[in-house]
């Protein structure tokens, strides 16, 4: 190696050093304050301060208050008999991923990470003893074909919008909005926002169903970060024979024959129109229709709450 060659290498190194410095400054310029995602990992305790009866003990057989059902949805709901739960093939239909916000349970969230670079591949929401775990793919993969199988947990992808996680879920099985037969079709989609404020997590679920709903349902639920670990996996609903029934029958009520149709109406002095749901009944203007005839029941006689309750989730 001659002198010039050696000198040339030194010059090159110096140039590289200067260029590196320039690159560092350029990177500093380029690395603006983009905003980071939020850590959602942890064990989240459910607080049942809204819809406690529907989520906990269970709704009345005909109680579609607050649901924007269309005619088909209402008709199908009224055909439903709770004895269908004895049918192996229908036993688990309550527990699609809609049950995440429709049910009473809290959940654990944890991440699957790529082992080399630590990037999050997916976020997981633990299952309950009914609902299957939910995997939220964070790696940008597309949703499967509309002809693909609908697994019990659906198919979910997520993106960060600032520090809010937005999750889009498709490929759910047909099931129920409420545990009284208010239906969801297999075309239902669930768009959720996970918003964390300190140790408070709000999950907002927007349920769309072109088959049975006239407009989306928007439900928001609140959770507190807990210290008791929730099991990441539990046994999702596994159908089994639990009752004797004729194998060639589907328990149901024929149109116009549901014996529970006026139970809520009578118990709470509500017009049947409201009990059967519908978009109009969700808005403040509907109160003008309710006001002339409504007289509150004199005294609560059953399911009165006795101060309410909070449910943790320890399964």
């Amino acid at each position: 190696m001659g002198y010039n060659s050696l000198f040339g290498e030194v010059v090159m190194e110096k140039r590289m050093t200067n260029n590196t410095a320039l690159a560092v400054v350029s990177m500093a310029l380029a690395c603006g304050p983009a905003f980071a995602e939020m850590d959602l990992a942890g064990d989240w305790i459910s607080y049942m301060h809204e819809d406690a009866m529907e989520r906990g003990g269970g709704p009345f057989p005909v109680d579609y208050l607050g649901l924007p059902l269309n005619e088909q949805g209402r008709a199908r709901a009224l055909l439903y008999s709770a004895s269908q739960i004895a049918m192996v093939e229908r036993q688990c239909l309550y527990y699609t991923s809609v049950y995440l916000t429709g049910g009473p349970f809290g959940f654990k969230i944890w991440a699957d990470t790529e082992p080399i670079n630590g990037q999050t591949i997916a976020l997981n929401i633990s299952g309950t003893n009914d609902r299957a775990p939910i995997k939220i793919w964070m790696d940008g993969r597309p949703h499967p074909s509309k002809y693909a199988i609908h697994p019990i947990g659906g198919f979910a992808t997520g993106i960060w919008e600032g520090d809010v996680l937005r999750v889009y879920m498709t490929h759910m099985k047909a099931g129920y909005l409420r545990r009284n037969g208010a239906p969801t079709s297999d075309q239902t989609t669930l768009t959720s926002h996970f918003i964390r404020h300190g140790d408070l997590l709000t999950v907002i679920a927007e349920i769309q169903d072109p088959v049975y709903l006239t407009e989306p349902i928007v439900i928001s639920r609140n959770y507190r970060l807990g210290t008791n670990p929730i099991r990441p996996f539990d046994t999702p609903c596994i159908p089994g024979e639990e009752a004797t029934r004729r194998p060639d029958t589907v328990p149901h009520y024929l149109p116009g024959k549901n014996p529970f149709i006026d139970e809520v109406s009578k118990l709470y002095n509500l017009p049947l129109e409201a009990v059967l749901g519908g978009a109009e009944t969700l808005y403040p203007a509907y109160r003008k229709k309710l006001k002339p005839a409504y007289v509150p029941p004199e005294k609560c006689k059953s399911n009165c709450g006795y101060g309410g309750f909070t449910t943790g989730s320890s399964q």
Partner: protein, 253 residues
């Protein structure tokens, strides 16, 4: 003194940094109105998909589902008598800050000034003021809407590539104290004058592109509650105020 071209390049780049990043260190901070990471203004209508039976109509006396009342709370609720409230001129007990978002109605949110967000509600014809900055409460008797101190909550800045940007998300946090004792439910479920209300105002984009305002409220009241009472109320954005419909407070409806 000989200065290399590269050194000059670095010096120029460093000199440009504050300009590129906006305010620099010497400029005044933006006002809360200018710094808003999310637009809360406009008309918002409540959509009652949840707790319909407790919100759209007055529930029966003694129907306390979901509310974690203690024994004193239940005793107070059992003594509820709307005629007494009317006689005492206290028809607005269910329209106080701790409960107003549960009322079906329309919110009209505007900036009263650079530091004050004004939240009007047609149900009960109420107005709340959410004060940013170093606002000091005036004192005096408690009011239905209490004293609210607000701040923006921004996502923490990361190290991602790209030019400086305004936060894509963020929310308003408000803490309200000095409220007049009222009801969490129309049927006399109580909160006391010692209650503290913490709220988060979040805006999300619905599937159809229409914004939704989610107001999450946590009521702490050791006088009448065993645990904080947490609810979140959902509002859909309206294009204008054509549906605005003020109604007076009512102890019975």
């Amino acid at each position: 003194m000989k200065v290399s071209k590269n050194t000059l390049r670095i010096a120029v780049a460093l000199a440009l940094l504050p300009h590129i990043y906006g305010q620099g260190r010497g400029g005044p901070p933006p006002t809360p109105k200018a710094a808003a990471p999310v637009d809360l203004t406009g008309y918002w209508v409540s959509v009652i998909n949840e707790d319909w039976r407790f919100r759209m109509v007055p529930p029966a006396k003694g129907d306390y589902q979901s509310v974690p009342m203690n024994a004193d709370g239940i005793k107070a609720a059992d003594a509820w008598d709307p005629s007494k409230d009317e006689a005492a001129g206290e028809q607005c007990k269910y329209y106080g800050a701790a409960a107003i978002m549960r009322n079906p109605g329309i919110l009209h949110i505007t900036w009263q000034d650079d530091d004050t967000l004004r939240v009007e509600m047609d149900a009960g014809t109420q107005t709340r003021l959410l004060h940013f900055g170093n606002w000091k409460a005036p004192g005096g008797e408690p009011t239905w809407q209490g004293d609210s101190v607000a701040q923006w909550e921004m996502p923490r800045a990361g190290r991602g590539p790209g030019p400086p940007e305004k936060p894509k998300s963020g929310d308003l946090k408000a803490i309200t104290t000095h409220m007049r004792a009222g009801y969490l439910r129309k049927n006399g479920v109580p909160y006391s004058a010692n209650a503290l209300l913490t709220e988060y105002y979040d805006v999300i984009q619905g599937v159809d592109g229409n914004p939704w305002l989610i107001v999450t409220g946590v009521v702490d009241d050791p006088t009448y509650l065993r645990t904080p009472f947490m609810t979140s109320s959902n509002f859909k954005k309206l294009p204008n105020g054509s549906e605005w419909d003020t109604t007076p407070c009512s102890a019975r409806w």
